[in-house]
């Protein structure tokens, strides 16, 4: 079961909310948290026994290590060692379950990895990061973490049950368990430790419902249909026959660009919406990334929680080490930039690519984005550009950036979607193909699919994202502050009034109409 299942949306969720409110009324914040944990474990169990066992063992070990780190940081030693053990354990579990294809040759580890990947078909990527970041939080902000775990709700007595319950609430919380957004422990703890946790508020339900419906619309009405009509048949054709017509190839490239965004951001909206219904703000994951004016801008808007985690975990330590190395050896110019910036960036993006799975196309995707990031960073920091940019109006700079960035993004997304490099090359070659669709052949895209594709681009290109519309209600935690790229006329603002309710009603009906076939989220396999 995941957030797209009708049984989740129309049965599990309302029952959970009712029990959560009841738990809050009877047992206060602790009662509500208990309901949240129980529901999360039930949700976890629906992913299969292997997933439940693996995540529960991981939960227990992570909690023990987290407490050990806090104790070590406050009065003892070995904090750094505990942190290393925890991160190695989490990453090892992820690597074993996810990269069995590449580990098969290793005696002992190969069979274990294969067994784990069969037993845990569901992704562990997101919860691995979430739990590892919690350990890092405990290490870097041990007092705040300890306080968040232990301090009783205002006016209540401390309880020994609080730390494990709060940690469980954070680490197993079902809305963002499967595909994020990856939250920090320090972001969530104060919210579940507050006195009012467990009390459902109409405004939270309204905001959560809005996010949920917008996410459903993106996922069911746009992303799934785009995939089914435009993308999947073309990739299937190319994988089988090695070619397609130029129109179909172009259609597939364009459609996948928006499909991936609507699929993943739709999930994120739904997850943030469900969490918001119980008064928890999760971090925002997307901020109109398809209007990015460059790769740097893109990664400040796309999968923002992964960007911040990878840069905190990987880029910053690598960059600091590289900078120290350059300083020690008094390196200058390119020799200094290589270890302090360029290599860390390339490694950072290669890991992001690899994180999606053991596939060469992901590695190449990461390398291209890394190289692009380096080039753009250098370009933007060049002195001549800094002088020159003052003379060019901002709108013109943004437009030029988008004109360069968007086609490159479309192409690299197509690479990301391709199962092999050969398929990607075939798709690119098909773009220049002069073959026409045979007479009488049925095209996969009818009038409705064309309308849907145009609508998708219109929404991605012009409409405000849901967080902009809900802006004044602070629907989610912002990791990066990006300037709005929404045209002024389209900068609609949400209010819980009858007109917006009608609009959401219509969006929900459109989504429900497409709901019979449950298509997993694209990111659910990564």
């Amino acid at each position: 079961m995941s957030l797209v299942y009708p049984i989740f949306l129309f049965a599990f969720l309302p029952i959970f909310l009712a029990l959560f409110a009841l738990g809050g009324r009877i047992g206060g914040p602790r009662g509500a948290l208990l309901v949240l944990v129980a529901s999360s474990l039930l949700f976890t169990a629906s992913q299969g026994l292997g997933f439940l066992i693996a995540t529960t063992i991981s939960l227990a070990i992570n909690y023990a290590l987290l407490m050990a780190i806090i104790r070590a940081r406050i009065g003892g030693r070995w904090g750094r060692a505990m942190l290393a053990v925890g991160i190695v354990f989490n990453l090892a579990l992820l690597v074993l379950a996810k990269y069995s294809v590449w580990l098969q040759w290793m005696p002992g580890i190969g069979p274990l990895s294969l067994g784990l990947s069969v037993a845990i078909p569901t992704t562990l990527s997101f919860l691995t990061f979430q739990r590892s970041v919690a350990l890092l939080d405990a290490f870097t902000a041990c007092k705040a973490t300890a306080l968040g775990l232990q301090s009783p709700p205002k006016g209540e007595r401390p309880s020994r049950a609080d730390p494990p319950l709060r940690y469980l609430g954070f680490a197993s919380m079902f809305p963002n368990l499967m595909i994020g957004p990856i939250a920090y422990l320090t972001e969530i703890l104060p919210q579940i430790a507050r006195r009012s946790f467990g009390k459902l508020r109409a405004i939270d339900i309204s905001i959560g419902l809005t996010l949920l419906i917008v996410g459903m619309f993106k996922k069911f009405f746009l992303a799934d249909a785009l995939g089914e009509d435009w993308v999947d048949p073309v990739y299937l054709d190319v994988a089988r026959t090695g070619a397609t017509t130029s129109a179909r190839a172009a259609g597939a490239l364009a459609a996948y660009y928006v499909q991936l965004y609507f699929d993943f951001s739709g999930y994120s909206d739904m997850a943030i919406g469900v969490a918001r219904m119980i008064g928890v703000r999760l971090p925002m994951n997307f901020d109109s990334p398809l209007r990015a004016t460059g790769i740097i801008d893109f990664y400040r808007r796309w999968h923002m929680t992964l960007t911040r985690v990878i840069s905190r975990f990987l880029f910053s330590p690598l960059s600091i080490a590289g900078t120290r190395y350059a300083a020690r050896w008094r390196l200058k110019g390119i020799a200094a930039k290589l270890p302090s910036l360029w290599l860390p960036l390339i490694i950072n993006f290669t890991v992001i690519g690899l994180w999606h799975g053991p596939r060469l196309t992901f590695v190449v995707f990461g390398l291209i984005h890394g190289t692009w990031y380096v080039i753009e960073t250098e370009f933007r920091s060049a002195r001549w550009w800094k002088k020159k940019r003052k003379t060019i109006p901002e709108w013109r700079r943004k437009l030029a950036g988008a004109i360069i960035a968007i086609p490159l993004l479309v192409l690299t997304f197509a690479l990301f979607r391709s199962p092999t490099l050969a398929v990607f090359v075939d798709i690119l070659q098909s773009l220049g193909s002069t073959a026409t669709v045979p007479q009488g052949a049925v095209l996969p895209f009818d009038k409705m699919s064309v309308i849907r594709l145009v609508l998708s681009f219109a929404i991605a290109g012009l409409a405000p994202n849901v967080y902009e519309m809900l802006g004044r209600y602070r629907p989610a935690i912002r990791s990066f502050v990006n300037p709005s790229t929404t045209p002024r006329w389209f900068a609609f603002k949400w209010r819980p009034n009858i007109i917006w309710a009608g609009l959401l009603f219509a969006l929900a009906m459109l989504a429900m109409h497409e709901m019979a076939t449950v298509t997993p989220f694209v990111y659910q396999v990564y």
Binding site: M1, Y5, P6, I7, F8, L9, F10, A11, P14, S46, A202, I205, S206, L209, T210, I213, L236, R240, T241, P438, G440, A441, R472, A491, F492, K493, W494, R495, P496, N497, I498, I499, W500, A501, G502, L504, F505, A508, M509, M512, H513, M515, A516, T517, V518
Partner: protein, 401 residues
């Protein structure tokens, strides 16, 4: 008119750009200010909950351990609903079941029952089945309680070895593999029919009946000049390799259909005591000329005459049955029946039968074993087929001179 424009602008400004509720004025403003957000926005969820409850109680596709016993109507389901009902139909008592692709979809179950003298019959054919979905579907169907006969229509889609499935096949597979919480039955028409199941006792909906009767294409091929012209062109200006013997033919054990469908299903049928009649749909012999020249839909053709590749596949099916000693399985080369295939008025297009007397004849062919392949006649089959295909060499469509 003039004062209206600023008023409209103000309303849009208030509603779309979200000024605080205290600023709402006028009738629309007052309406917008009513605390109706949650009741309206939650309505779809209430509807969704009701739909879930109905689906969980009735369980029309029989995917859950609970739910009402399947009680399906006879031959009233639209094309895209049939693959959903494979499991439900296989839970009910049936004496005979027909399964195949679009070539067997037009056979009314009543006609099958009357011609073959059975009481409870179902035709569960859906468009474009491929070996990948046909295997699991037939393995499910062969276990139907009370089943005595399974009629399997094998058309050229079953020659595919690429693991492809089409929408209908994927639907059938997803229902067969569904877990209780997967909810493939979460659809408005399904819920409507489920409500009828609760009220009237049968899983059915009046809309489906009208849909079925309205969607039936009743026009014969001979009344479709454009199609006739295409056939005429294929015969009068044929592809050069229409009679070229294929240079290479795939070995029989390379066909996924034989390996993954025929043999396991045949063995299961033998165990269950079910007679399996495989038949090859008769098509106008002009169609084979057209396939040679124009078929762009089927990507699995090899080199040389396509109808000979098809016949080779049919022979492979027969030989696999003999080698595996599947005594319950009979193979009928009904594509040799000139009484059906030589008369274009029997068809609605170049492939699909339309006339019920032709369908009844095909069923009688199967029942009587008139075109049944045997060890004695199997080698003659390609020659007989070639003669029939050649026989239309001088054919011209009416009105084409």
């Amino acid at each position: 008119m003039r004062p209206l424009i600023p008023a409209i602008q103000a309303i849009i400004g208030r509603v779309a750009y979200g000024s605080p509720r205290s600023n709402y004025r006028g009738p629309i403003g007052k309406l917008a200010a009513l605390p109706l957000f949650l009741p309206i926005a939650l309505l779809p969820f209430v509807g969704g909950l009701l739909m879930c409850v109905v689906a969980l109680v009735v369980d029309p596709y029989d995917v859950r351990p609970w739910g009402m016993a399947p009680r399906n109507a006879e031959g009233v389901y639209p094309q895209d609903e049939t693959p959903n009902l494979i499991k439900a139909f296989s839970s009910e008592q049936h004496e005979a079941i027909m399964f195949g692709g679009s070539t067997s979809m037009p056979f009314p179950s009543r006609l099958i029952a009357d011609t073959l003298n059975y009481k409870r019959v179902a035709n569960l054919s859906y468009s474009l089945p491929t070996p990948r979905d046909t295997g699991p579907v037939l393995r499910q169907l062969v276990r139907t309680p009370g089943l005595r006969r399974l009629l399997i229509d094998v058309d050229h889609s079953q020659m595919r070895n690429d693991g492809a499935t089409f929408v209908t096949g994927r639907t059938a597979l997803s229902v067969l593999n569904a877990r209780w919480f997967d909810m493939p039955d979460f659809k408005t028409p399904t819920v409507q029919a489920s409500i009828h199941r609760i009220i009237d006792g049968t899983y059915d909906s009046p809309e489906w009946r009208s849909l079925r009767s309205n969607s039936a294409d009743t026009q014969s091929l001979i009344d479709k000049p454009d199609l006739l012209m295409t056939l005429d062109d294929a015969v009068s200006r044929p592809a050069p390799d229409i009679f070229t013997a294929p240079r290479t033919l795939p070995p029989c054990d390379s066909f996924t259909f034989i390996r993954d469908v025929l043999l396991p299903v045949g063995r299961e049928a033998q165990v269950q005591g079910v007679t399996v009649d495989i038949f090859f749909p008769p098509m106008p012999y002009q169609t084979y000329w057209n396939w040679q020249k124009n078929d762009v839909f089927f990507g699995s053709w090899g080199n040389g005459a396509r109808y000979l590749q098809l016949v080779h596949f049919h022979q492979c099916i027969f030989r696999a049955v003999v080698v595996a000693k599947l005594s319950a399985v009979r193979v009928n080369a009904t594509d040799l029946d000139t009484a059906i295939a030589s008369h274009l008025e029997n068809y609605r297009d170049s492939v699909h039968l339309i006339r019920s007397d032709a369908m009844a004849r095909l069923l009688r062919d199967i029942d009587s074993g008139r075109f049944r392949l045997t060890i004695d006649n199997v080698d003659r089959y390609p020659g007989e087929m070639a003669a029939r295909v050649r026989s239309v060499a001088g054919w011209r469509a009416p009105g084409q001179g």
